[in-house]
């Protein structure tokens, strides 16, 4: 039985939005979990959705359809959620968003928060640096991300292992694969991240030591391999899951990941599509990050942080120094469930597979 992640139930079902807001959000591709509601008790209204949909910079949903999408959409880790944190400021745009609707009455700007009859005092006073501050209410997604990250770091002793992978062959393999797909009329490009996801899935099947959860007084071994792909969003992140990634073909994994990432960005994931992962791959390579550590997505026991593939000097088997694409992978493991050596062994096998990419599909 796949583990359930109670936190993600909240992300999806506890969003309070009007039916009209839901309809508009679906149409405009706004993820309701990232929207701050202006109605009573935080209810999200049409005006809030439209305010959130006004361009706020970095990631417009339209980018999802562009070429090389999956690379761009590739995962951002929990730590990487900070990248998306700028999106929390979408709340700032609320009033102007409502102004874009000419037929809306002026009486109620989207930013107008109607307080409940008994206002609750702000719980923790925040230090005020000179120049002043402005309090931006957290979106429900931000709240869930915050709670779950604290839970992860506080409960799981993280242990980190980094390995350097010669990705020259992998890059060549990917290029050739995409050439073949294009020649075959396929509208699909396999990303580096897809290759890593599939490689991890293959290994987790062969070496299920990492496909576990820490269960307090027991270790829970998962029979199936479901790999989560962390996706950065405006205002947070979400981890849709490619189910049975070990049993699916590489192109099938790539196709599913593309679909999941696209829908994650447009807020159209079904609740159960973010549940039940057994391992997560997070990628900040598209930001030029060479190497980073990721926070484990509980109740999983491990997460892989993928850096950017960049040209670096390498020493070939023949002892020559040459320049190859190089990739750094960092594995975080829950030390309650796994030992450092177990993680190291997995990482070494992963390096081996990625450096001989035919083994991904073999």
């Amino acid at each position: 039985m796949p583990p359930t992640t109670p936190g993600q139930d909240e992300e999806n079902s506890r969003v309070v939005a009007t039916p009209l807001a839901r309809a508009v959000a679906a149409d405009l591709g706004v993820d309701l979990t990232t929207v701050t509601g202006s109605g009573r008790r935080g209810r999200i209204t049409r005006a809030d959705v439209e305010a959130a949909a006004t361009p706020s910079g970095v990631d417009s949903p339209a980018a999802v359809d562009g070429p090389g999408v999956v690379d761009r959409a590739g995962a951002v880790d929990k730590a990487g959620a900070v990248v998306g944190a700028g999106a929390v400021d979408s709340g700032e745009q609320a009033p102007s968003g409502s102004a874009t609707l000419p037929h809306r009455g002026p009486e109620r700007g989207a930013g107008s928060v109607q307080a409940a009859p008994t206002p609750t005092p702000t719980p923790t006073p925040t230090p005020t640096p000179p120049g002043g501050t402005r309090e931006v209410p957290l979106s429900s997604m931000r709240r869930v991300v915050a709670r779950r990250l604290v839970e992860s770091v506080q409960s799981a002793p993280h242990f980190f292992l980094t390995i350097r992978v010669d990705a020259e062959a992998l890059a060549g393999f990917r290029a050739e694969l995409n050439r073949q797909l294009a020649a075959g009329g396929e509208d699909l490009k396999v990303s580096l991240n897809d290759l890593v996801v599939k490689a991890c899935a293959v290994l987790l099947r062969a070496n299920p030591a990492l496909n576990v959860s820490f269960g307090g007084d027991k270790l829970i071994r998962h029979r199936r391999v479901h790999v989560g792909v962390a996706v950065a969003l405006d205002g947070g992140l979400i981890v849709p899951v490619v189910r049975d990634a070990d049993r699916k073909s590489l192109t099938q994994v790539a196709r599913e990941a593309k679909d999941l990432i696209g829908r994650a960005r447009t807020g159209r994931l079904a609740a159960d599509e973010t549940r039940g992962g057994t391992f997560t791959v997070s990628n900040l390579g598209m930001f030029g990050v060479k190497q980073f550590t990721a926070v484990i997505n509980p109740p999983e026991a491990a997460i892989l942080a993928v850096g950017a593939a960049e040209p670096e000097p390498v020493v070939t088997a023949g002892g020559e120094v040459t320049v190859h694409q190089v990739l750094r992978l960092t594995l975080s493991i829950d030390h309650r469930a796994l030992d450092g050596a177990t993680g190291a062994q997995f990482l070494a096998q992963l390096k081996e597979v990625l450096e001989h990419p035919l083994r991904i599909v073999a």
């Binding site: 009007t18 039916p19 009209l20 508009v24 149409d27 009486e107 109620r108 109607q114 009859p117």
Partner: protein
């Protein structure tokens, strides 16, 4: 008395105890504010004493009379069905007294200090209360718009940290030659008619005029309605006015739309207090005059704010050119600490809007961040059939640029309307095509005023057509009509034939 009522200052002084002022005072008291309320007559204002409630009480008599007259349609035979108008008026008075007494006891139960008299501002924080002068229409008439007694000595001086102006409005008489003649009345004066007029001309076909027309028509008057705009109830969706015009015509009410009254004079050879009047009705350009003889002319158009003798200028409160007190969405006037609610703000002249403004103002004064939202304000007109609506009319929605989809469901197609024996009218839902956002709901027909809350709630909660259509409505009820209308709008009508692209080929 733990709390000395004379202790000053109050947290809040409310001037006017109508449907805006008394809820404001009650809510303020509930939120912990020491509150005083100044009122000239029985609490409840025009609504309870001279408007909503007394007309509805009398319209109910009209309704009972109509039902009894049509008893044979239901297999119920009654002879000697007659009207006892003085008894109708006595019943109206019992009803209003019960309700105004109820308000008085609610104010007392909430610890509101009620001061009787006319209030006028001495400054931004102080009003003095003086005795009320004579009622403009005589001892039996309304006191709410009475002037202060000449040389009246102040009976109290009230200081408030906050004040709410809730003095309401008064009907105005149009500047028509002859408007001063006896027999020309406003809705206030209509209550004082001792008998049912044999003939009555009603100027203005908005809610007030249309309700009095319904009532006197049922009571046997010969009723002529004159409305300058092209439809009855011109603020409502066009389908409402047109349907109502058909019903009125069927009942024998003479409706003249797109017409105006240019002159009122005493009829030739008629003298004295009960002299007949001759009303000249023309088109808006003054052409095509027509003369109608009548006993009473009722002017049902226009109101002005009750700010006379209030000395608002001493508080520094800004009013617009016509005297309405200007407020923001938190009901704040130009003077900090002075709020205004209800008709005197000139926003939406409806009792229930005044009440809501009162609750919001009280909350704002108590420190809560409440705001008025006027988008989903229902209105009801108690004609026969009733009319009720919320939101945009079809025309207004199109004007606002929406891609509009409309669903109409006629009451004759509804089981409950047939069993009830009341099948005039329809429900019309106006929505935006793309998302099915409900923009307006318009009902003319049996129980319209009780059907409209579903539309109001739908708009308030941003329900779409699908939510209403997918909500199970009890059968057989009039409420099914709203659901059916949304199904029509969605193109999936169950109880009426689907719309045809072309009607050609139909016999």
């Amino acid at each position: 008395m733990a709390d000395d009522p004379a202790r000053q200052p109050f947290d809040l002084v409310v001037v006017g105890g109508g449907p805006g002022g008394y809820p404001a005072a009650i809510r303020a008291a509930q939120l912990g504010l020491r509150t005083a309320l100044v009122e000239k007559e029985r609490p409840g204002g025009v609504c309870l004493n001279w408007g909503c409630i007394p007309t509805k009480a009398m319209l109910r008599s009209a309704d009972v009379l109509e039902t009894m007259r049509h008893g044979a349609d239901y297999g119920v035979l009654a002879d000697n069905v007659r009207l006892d108008y003085p008894a109708v008026v006595r019943r109206k008075e019992r009803v209003t007294k019960t309700l105004t007494d109820g308000v008085a006891s609610l104010l007392a139960a909430n610890g509101v200090t009620v001061v009787s008299g006319h209030a006028r501002f001495l400054g931004p924080r102080t009003v003095e209360v003086v005795p009320v002068g004579d009622a403009p229409l005589g001892a039996a008439g309304p006191l709410y718009n009475a002037p202060p007694a000449p040389d009246g000595r102040p009976v109290a001086s009230l200081e408030g940290r906050n004040l709410i102006v809730a003095t309401g409005s008064t009907p105005v008489l149009l500047p028509i030659p002859g408007i001063e003649l006896p027999g020309v009345v406003t809705s206030d004066g209509a209550f004082l008619l001792g008998e049912v007029p044999r003939r009555i001309v009603i100027i203005g076909a908005s809610a007030v005029g249309a309700e009095w027309a319904t009532m006197f028509n049922a009571f046997g008057s010969e009723v002529t309605m004159v409305e300058l705009l092209p439809t009855l109830l011109p603020a409502e969706d066009e389908d409402m006015g047109k349907t109502l015009a058909r019903s009125f015509a069927k009942r024998g009410i003479k409706v003249q739309t797109g017409r105006t009254v240019s002159e009122i004079a005493q009829a030739a050879g008629s003298k004295g207090k009960h002299a007949a009047l001759r009303v000249t009705i023309t088109d808006p350009e003054g052409q095509h005059p027509q003369q109608v003889e009548t006993d009473v002319v009722l002017v049902g158009v226009g109101r002005r704010p009750n700010t006379a003798a209030l000395d608002l200028e001493r508080a520094g409160v800004a009013t617009d050119q016509r005297g309405w007190v200007e407020v923001d969405d938190q009901l704040r006037t130009s003077v900090p600490g002075v709020h205004a609610i209800g008709d005197v703000t000139g926003k939406v002249l409806l009792a229930h809007v005044a009440s809501h403004q009162g609750l919001v103002a009280a909350a704002v004064i108590a420190g809560h961040d409440e705001r008025m939202d006027y988008r989903a304000v229902p209105a009801a007109t108690f004609t026969h059939p009733e009319v009720a609506s919320v939101g945009l009319t079809e025309a207004k929605a199109k004007e606002a640029g929406y891609d509009v989809v409309v669903g109409r469901f006629p009451f004759p197609a509804l089981g409950r309307a047939q069993t009830y024996g009341s099948t005039e009218g329809l429900v019309k839902v106006v929505a935006e095509r793309k998302y099915g956002e409900v923009l307006g709901v318009h009902v003319i027909g049996p129980g319209a005023s009780d059907l409209i809350p579903e539309g109001v709630l739908a708009m308030r909660l941003e329900a779409t057509l699908e939510e209403i259509a997918d909500t199970i409505h009890a059968h057989p009820t009039l409420g099914e009509s709203t659901m059916e209308a949304t199904m029509v709008a969605l193109g999936l009508p169950v109880h009426i034939a689907p719309a045809r692209k072309s009607r050609s080929g139909r016999g």
